[in-house]
């Protein structure tokens, strides 16, 4: 079929395909195919269409840009992005403690100087947990040692269970904070 289409039609369909390039592939293919069928169908009524006939027909179909605008207006709006600087702050607060211990403080400075978070969010970012994952591993390690010392005689397993829970909590908290900060950051579109 492709080769029998008039050059104007082929050019039109190419333009349409390009105008739709930001759509998901299946939607793009579908719309191009539908428009192609629409044009083929309309032209089938004219056995030997003149260039003017084809132009008039393409005109009534609308410009590729018009059709693309209609397709994009149906898409859900793109999610606003978290600023790079804020993303770095969140990353450093989580893992910066492993960077010679100073990474976390850089993250902290970025956090408090950013306009993306409220004071409440900044307090959460600071206190849960100081040092981020590195801090929680340190804390967890200490918590794990305590029951070993106290339960030396193997009197009860509950301190060990408690220690394990503390370790899990200590690891969970910085991760929770990361999600919290990402979720609550004021975004720029």
């Amino acid at each position: 079929m492709q080769d029998v289409r008039a050059p104007q039609v082929r050019e039109y369909l190419d333009r349409l395909d390009r105008a739709l390039r930001d759509l998901p592939r299946d939607r793009r293919t579908e719309i191009v195919r539908d428009i192609q069928a629409h044009i083929d169908d309309a032209l089938s009524e004219h056995p030997d269409p003149s260039a003017t006939t084809i132009d008039e027909l393409l005109n009534s179909v609308g410009t590729p840009e018009e059709i693309a605008a209609a397709a994009y207006s149906d898409m859900p709006a793109a999610r606003p992005q978290i600023a790079t600087r804020d993303a770095i702050a969140v990353g450093l607060l989580l893992g910066g403690g492993f960077l010679f211990g100073v990474g976390w403080f850089v993250g902290l400075a970025l956090l408090w100087s950013s306009a993306a978070w409220t004071t409440r969010d900044k307090l959460i970012g600071t206190l849960l947990i100081p040092g981020g994952l590195a801090g929680s591993l340190l804390l967890g390690g200490m918590a794990a040692l305590v029951p070993l010392r106290t339960s030396g005689a193997g009197s009860s397993s509950s301190p060990a269970v408690l220690g394990l829970l503390l370790v899990l909590l200590a690891v969970f908290l910085p991760i929770f904070t990361t999600f919290w900060l990402i979720r609550h950051a004021r975004r720029t579109p």
Binding site: A37, S44, A70
Partner: protein
């Protein structure tokens, strides 16, 4: 606001239900229903813009479609309402009557 711009605003939120309403009496192919909708240029200015809408209505489960050979020319894609689409048209028709009545009353100053 320019008349064109105003119409664009009014179409948003109404045109998709008009598209669904054209399918109430059974399945049709797009060219056929576009001819109905676009006859006066109020609802549809460019025929092609109806296709992205049909594509979304299909993905939203409001219509189904099948490609079928046609006697005269190339294959055509036929659309029909799903039960969900039918429900949507009916509910829109009810709301529209209320909406139109309210606007008309205000415009005529019968408050």
């Amino acid at each position: 606001m320019e008349p064109d711009q105003l119409l664009t605003h009014l179409r948003r939120g109404t045109l998709e239900f008009c598209v669904l309403a054209t399918l109430r009496d059974g399945e049709r192919y797009a060219g056929d229903l576009i001819a109905d909708l676009g006859a006066d240029g109020v609802l549809v200015t460019s025929e092609g813009t109806v296709y992205p809408m049909l594509s979304r209505l299909r993905r939203d489960g409001m219509v189904d479609s099948t490609w079928r050979e046609s006697k005269a020319g190339p294959p055509r894609r036929y659309y029909r309402l799903t039960s969900r689409g039918e429900l949507a048209v009916r509910s829109f028709a009810d709301q529209w009557t209320l909406f139109r009545g309210a606007v008309d009353r205000v415009l005529k100053g019968e408050m």
